[in-house]
């Protein structure tokens, strides 16, 4: 677009690396780069096509995060260290939900942008997704697997809300390319800051077993009104009742009643009780990764 974000950042005086996915806009940006004496660096690439899953050579505008960080001169820091890089951007409305999921997997696997530490995202997302990310247990329709996983993974702050009417309309239909929603409000674009929690991997949750955690949460919230005990027993985990007692979770709790932190505790308890050592659960997790990686 017209580069509102880039200009704002430059005016604030910070060093900016701009990723431009459309080659038509490159020449202008490059002349700006030349006139700014090192404050701006322009790279041809698409942030949302970082580290594509297809094997083979990466063709621009797709690019690999390793190369990107190398050319930016950013080195990896330990997870508990301070934020090494801040990312600003607008999440495209097309397949917005998928992009949030992909970022989430990268976060839990410490892969892609999260390989160099707790990268802070400052992104515009639609209000409906913001509502999902920040909803509370029991909020019908809004409280989903995505909610639990983002809240366990990151601190979520709302920085700014801007009504859709401030944005340029779609030329063809003269309307906004905004999805209509039935259950959740969607009148704004929300600038949110997603900062990964320092203590995300201090317990028994690790980047290596996080896929199982994601799988477990998704399975539980596939049907939010089901009872947690029923879920556990339908996985042929037989002593679910005892487990819940130990965790002080009521026997009749529905899966939508659990706080994100409860899911984390449940996972860690299962992990320690070696329930997940049963082969099928891991197989299913792998299976689910295949579906996720689409």
């Amino acid at each position: 677009g017209p580069g509102v974000l880039t200009r704002t950042l430059l005016n604030a005086g910070v060093r900016v690396v701009a990723l431009e996915s459309n080659s038509a806009f490159l020449p202008n940006l490059q002349s700006l780069e030349n006139s700014l004496d090192g404050q701006l660096k322009v790279i041809y690439g698409d942030f949302f096509r970082l580290d594509p899953l297809v094997t083979g050579t990466v063709k621009p505008p797709a690019l690999s995060s390793d190369k990107l960080f190398e050319s930016m001169g950013v080195a990896a820091v330990p997870w508990r260290a301070d934020v090494p890089v801040k990312v600003f951007g607008i999440l495209p409305q097309v397949r917005e939900r998928n992009k949030l999921w992909r970022l989430l997997f990268a976060l839990y696997e410490c892969s892609s942008i999260y390989r160099c530490g707790r990268v802070e995202l400052n992104i515009f997302i639609s209000e409906k997704e913001y509502k999902v990310l920040t909803s509370k247990p029991g909020e019908a329709k809004a409280y989903q697997a995505l909610t639990v996983l983002w809240q366990v993974g990151c601190e979520i702050q709302l920085l700014h809300k801007e009504p859709w009417s401030s944005f340029v309309t779609n030329m063809k239909s003269r309307g906004l390319a905004v999805q209509k929603t039935k259950w959740l409000p969607n009148d704004h674009l929300c600038l949110v800051r997603l900062t990964p929690h320092q203590n995300l991997f201090t317990g028994s949750l690790k980047p290596t077993n996080s896929a199982t955690f994601i799988f477990m949460v998704k399975q539980c919230l596939a049907k939010p009104r089901s009872k947690l005990t029923d879920r556990l027993s339908s996985w042929s985990l037989d002593n679910g009742g005892k487990l819940l007692r130990e965790l002080e979770i009521p026997q009749n709790a529905e899966t939508r009643d659990l706080y994100p932190e409860d899911y984390r505790r449940l996972f860690e308890a299962l992990q320690n009780s070696s329930e997940f050592a049963e082969t099928w659960f891991n197989d299913e997790v792998m299976e689910s990764i295949r579906n996720i990686n689409l």
Binding site: D230, S236, N282, D283, S288
Partner: protein, 964 residues
């Protein structure tokens, strides 16, 4: 049970909600009166009311379906007031008056049936258990161990299930006493408990290691209970006894010592039924269960399974602590925006099953070919199997319109279709044993992917597992393992499919057998047994022979040779004479293939359809070596294929001259190829554009070929849109390495435009007809109605596309989403589907009509005939006669005023009763227009039948390559 009070109360209830008494209501009252030996007055009053409602006493015996002694009871009641009442005589048989079948039905005629040796055999069980072809493998000690473990587990599970069922029934009964309502309870009391448990155990035994979706399993369980219940009813109501009595008489018609008959199979059956005085009592009252009920029942049984089945966790690994864990687990699988519930067997159980390598396979009895001739279709709900219920018309779950339409139309109108299906089903088959044995030997060895014999899963190379638990593996390892699992799952399902087919074939290897047929809603016919039938792949077709043998005759050997060349896929552009010459040239290869199929030069393996080619080589070898090939008795089916059959029907409908020529409706010395013709036309357009400086036309120089346009031309008949056509083109162009990638979009866009133009140029009337059909369907659907028509053979058709929503069946275990396409919203038509599907459906209804006409006239001439849609099979001896009939019937069919008749029918149906039209809501609906305007528009559209070209249809009679 003779309790009049209850019946009266029921009738009162009906009256209070405004329901009319039907004939069946009166039958029930009379039955009750007869049973309780009531007073004259009561019976008299009842009969009086019956008359007041416009019924006649005779109607009771002509239209009602009685079970057990119901009929006798009704008769007893009537004789209380009319002691001399006699049963009405059976209705005299009617004859179909269709102009297309005048010769078929009205001639003084005799029909000869093939004389076959078979013994009376009736399927009386719902399932059949057979040995698999893998049973010849030696049994390892490990397998023996696994088998004994499994059998102990199974007997334990049987007990556990029985207990769980009792418990759930008890709690339901309690609930019934307190709240008085439980929908499922009565359906759990229909069969002995043992049978429910048996059905559940069957599901466990057949569950694949990959698991199965909840909805599919629930449905399967539900319908198994239903089928079992129907069988029980048939036995109890003595229906089966009656059918058996008639059937024993019926098969004399087809037995080896019978004479040519003046009856068609259907007529003969009806005659026997009338003589036995059974009337319509051979049918059971229709009582199919609603889909939701099947699902609920199935879900309940699944719950019991998940709850009750347990296996000791240490059964494979004794070092683990002994604890019982569930055998089945339930999880969700996510696919972008939707999720599916799956039931999977625990890997321990899958491992046991795979170790045991059990070799018995259990099928529904309707999945096995019949070992005696099928019961002839005599009505839309009676025919095919003796025990299993089969519908004349296949339909989407929950759609009732087809069956209603079939029942409402005058039954005599359906006779041609029923007779054609009977003819197809009466074709007797046998197994080509030498070919089957070769296939089984390869199957039991290691399979052969090139020859389409799927290898066992153990042949898929397994990636080496790195040390440590799977959660710590690298991404590459996980990826590799995932690919392996995917491949293994694919191989497993293909292997099982082949195992079923071959095992069934092996099971009937020494027998004569039959495939009963039914049809889809357009009249296209299909054999009912799902796994093994002549519609299958090359492998299955190669092991099928006609049970009846015929001498080759003077030209039979030549036809076998031409058939062989057709199977190779070579010489497609050459004349029949040239194909024959080619076969004679390579005679040495043919004989080598026949004599040493696996050890010789193996010429047959390089052909398009290797197994059928091999079978044909063997037949040619045997025939040519016999002292007199013309007298050689051959059982081999020879095929004749329509060339681009959909376009043939379009070209004939529109009388398009150039089009007709390109799809072989005109006599020609060599076969014409419509794809090349279109490619040529497109190339001409391209040249012109290139000269005028159109960039993309210049880029495409040298890239327009038959291969590029073929798929699009083929699918034009089936209503491919520009959008879909462009995607097809893009795919083809991508396959060409030299084609510059950056032009893909533009080039495919240009090409699809030119292909459509080319077709329009060659098939001008065809495009008009297609357009007319589409527009008519659009207007009809927009007015809130479904598109209906009647084929020239009298089959009524309705397009079953409705708007639907999904519904959820919930239990504690999970909720299965039923649908979409399952629960229909007020039967509003789906406009887009109604519109887009009409042209192809209409054409399919014509090609099925052509096939049925050919089948009927072949029956008249005493030919063996079967079809795979537009591919017709007969003996080598009778190929020429069949070809002639096929052409005659095509000409006869298209000499009817098909489009005018269609227009007439639709005008009457849709423009007669303007007040009944209900408008659908939505943006595309004609909300603003007035009804009168709308009516006028529809009327204009429907009466405006497209003009046709001047192709002379009679030319088809002399076209060699029309079907070849």
């Amino acid at each position: 049970q003779g309790c009049l009070q209850r019946i009266s109360r029921l009738l009162c209830m009906m009256e209070s909600v405004g329901l009319q008494r039907s004939l069946d209501s009166y039958a029930a009252v009379l039955e009750c009166l007869g049973r309780s030996q009531s007073s004259t007055q009561a019976v008299w009053r009842c009969l009086q009311q019956l008359k007041n409602d416009g019924f006649h006493v005779d109607d009771l015996f002509q239209k009602c379906l009685f079970e057990e002694d119901e009929k006798e009871m009704v008769l007893r009641a009537i004789r209380i007031v009319q002691p001399n009442y006699q049963l009405p005589p059976p209705p005299s048989p009617q004859t179909c008056k269709s102009s297309l079948l005048q010769d078929f039905y009205s001639k003084e005629r005799m029909v000869s049936y093939p004389k076959l040796d078979f013994s009376l055999w009736m399927e009386l069980d719902n399932t059949v258990t057979i040995e698999s072809v893998e049973s010849t493998k030696p049994l390892t000690p490990q397998a023996m161990r696994a088998r004994s473990v499994l059998s102990t587990l199974r007997s334990r599970w049987h007990g556990a299930l029985l207990q769980a069922l009792h418990k759930s029934k008890r709690s339901m009964a309690k609930l019934r006493n307190t709240s008085g309502y439980s929908t499922l309870y009565p359906y759990l009391c229909l069969l002995p408990d043992e049978e429910y448990v048996g059905i559940m155990m069957q599901i466990v035994n057949s569950l694949s290691p990959q698991g199965e979706s909840l909805a599919v399993l629930a449905r399967e369980l539900g319908s198994k209970v239903y089928n079992r219940y129907i069988t029980q009813r048939k036995l109890r109501s003595r229906q089966l006894e009656k059918v058996r009595a008639v059937y024993e008489g019926y098969i004399h018609l087809l037995a080896k010592d019978s004479q040519p008959e003046e009856y068609l199979p259907r007529e003969y059956w009806e005659k026997l039924v009338a003589e036995a005085g059974f009337g319509p009592a051979l049918n059971l009252k229709d009582c199919s269960w609603p889909y939701m009920l099947l699902m609920r029942l199935g879900m309940h049984m699944l719950e019991l399974l998940v709850e009750a089945l347990r296996v000791p966790r240490n059964i494979l690994n004794p070092r683990l602590e002994p604890r019982l864990i569930p055998v089945l687990y339930h999880i969700y699988s996510f696919h972008s925006s939707w999720q599916v519930g799956l039931i999977k067997p625990h890997p321990i159980f899958s491992q046991l099953v795979s170790d045991a390598g059990e070799t018995l396979l259990t099928f529904n009895s309707s999945a096995i070919p019949m070992l005696c001739p099928p019961v002839p279709w005599t009505s839309p709900h009676f025919g095919a199997y003796i025990l299993s219920d089969t519908k004349l018309m296949r339909f989407v779950e929950g759609v009732v319109q087809h069956q209603q339409l079939l029942e409402q139309c005058p039954q005599v109108q359906l006779h041609p279709v029923l007779d054609a299906l009977n003819q197809l089903g009466n074709c007797a088959w046998k197994i080509n044993r030498p070919v089957l044995d070769i296939i089984i030997s390869i199957f039991n060895d290691k399979g052969n992917e090139k020859l389409d014999i799927p290898p066992p899963v153990s042949e898929v190379p397994r990636p080496s597992a790195p040390p440590g638990s799977s959660s710590s593996w690298s991404k590459a390892h996980k990826q590799e393992l995932l690919l392996y699992k995917k491949k293994a799952a694919e191989v497993h399902s293909m292997r099982m499919d082949a195992l079923y087919k071959l095992s069934i074939a092996n099971h009937v290897r020494d027998k004569v057998f039959w495939f009963p047929h039914n049809m889809d809603f357009r009249g296209r016919t299909y054999p009912c047994p799902p796994y093994f039938n002549h519609l299958g792949n090359d492998v299955t077709r190669a092991i099928l022979l006609f049970a009846e043998g015929r001498p080759l005759g003077p030209k039979g050997l030549d036809w076998l040779k031409i058939h062989l060349v057709n199977l190779t896929g070579l010489k497609k552009k050459n004349s029949l004479q040239e194909r024959l010459e080619y076969a004679n040239e390579i005679m040495e290869e043919i004989l080598d293939s026949a004599d040493r199929p696996l050890t010789g030069r193996r010429w047959w393996m390089k052909t398009d359809e290797p197994w059928q080619a091999l079978a044909c080589c063997m037949e040619i070898a045997k025939a040519s070596r016999s002292p007199d090939p013309a007298a050689y008795i051959s059982h081999f089916p020879v095929h004749q294929d329509g060339s681009c059959n959909g376009l043939q029907h379009y070209a004939a409908l529109g009388r398009d001259l150039i089009g007709a020529m390109s799809v072989n409706l005109m006599p020609c010395s060599v076969p014409q190829d419509v794809y090349s013709a279109v490619a040529q036309q497109v190339e001409e357009f391209r040249k012109k554009d290139a000269e005028q400086g159109v960039k993309i036309a210049q880029v495409l120089q040298g890239f327009v070929s038959r291969k590029v346009v073929k798929q699009t031309v083929m699918t034009v008949v089936y209503g491919v849109t520009r959008y879909g056509g462009r995607l097809q083109m893009e795919k083809r162009l991508k396959e060409i390495d030299e084609f510059p990638e950056e032009y893909l979009w533009e080039a495919s866009h240009y090409l699809v435009k030119q292909v459509f133009n080319g077709i329009k140029e060659m098939f001008s009337a065809t495009r008009d007809i297609q357009h007319w059909l589409t527009e008519s369907a659009k207007l009809i659907a927009q007015s809130g109605q479904t598109v209906e028509w009647v084929t020239p053979l009298g089959l009524p058709i309705v397009q079953p596309y409705y708007r639907s929503r999904s519904t959820v069946v919930s239990t504690w275990l999970a909720s299965a989403v039923v649908g979409p396409r399952r629960v229909w919203v007020g039967w509003k038509p789906d406009t887009v589907k109604q519109k887009n599907a009409f042209p192809p459906n209409f054409i399919h209804s014509l090609d099925s009509t052509h096939m049925m006409l050919t089948a009927l006239y072949c029956l008249r001439q005493g030919l063996t005939f079967v079809s795979v849609h537009d591919c017709y099979w007969t003996h080598a001896l009778t190929v020429d006669i069949m070809n002639q009939i096929c052409r005659q019937q095509f000409v006869a069919l298209h000499s009817e005023k098909i489009l005018q008749d269609l227009s007439q029918f639709m005008l009457e149906k849709y423009c007669r009763a303007p007040l009944l039209i209900c408008f659908s809501s939505g943006s595309s609906s004609p909300g603003r227009e007035t009804r009168a305007q709308w009516q006028k528009k529809l009327m204009e559209q429907l009466s405006n039948v497209p003009k046709t070209g001047d192709f002379n249809l009679k030319e088809v009679m002399d076209s060699t390559y029309f079907f070849s």
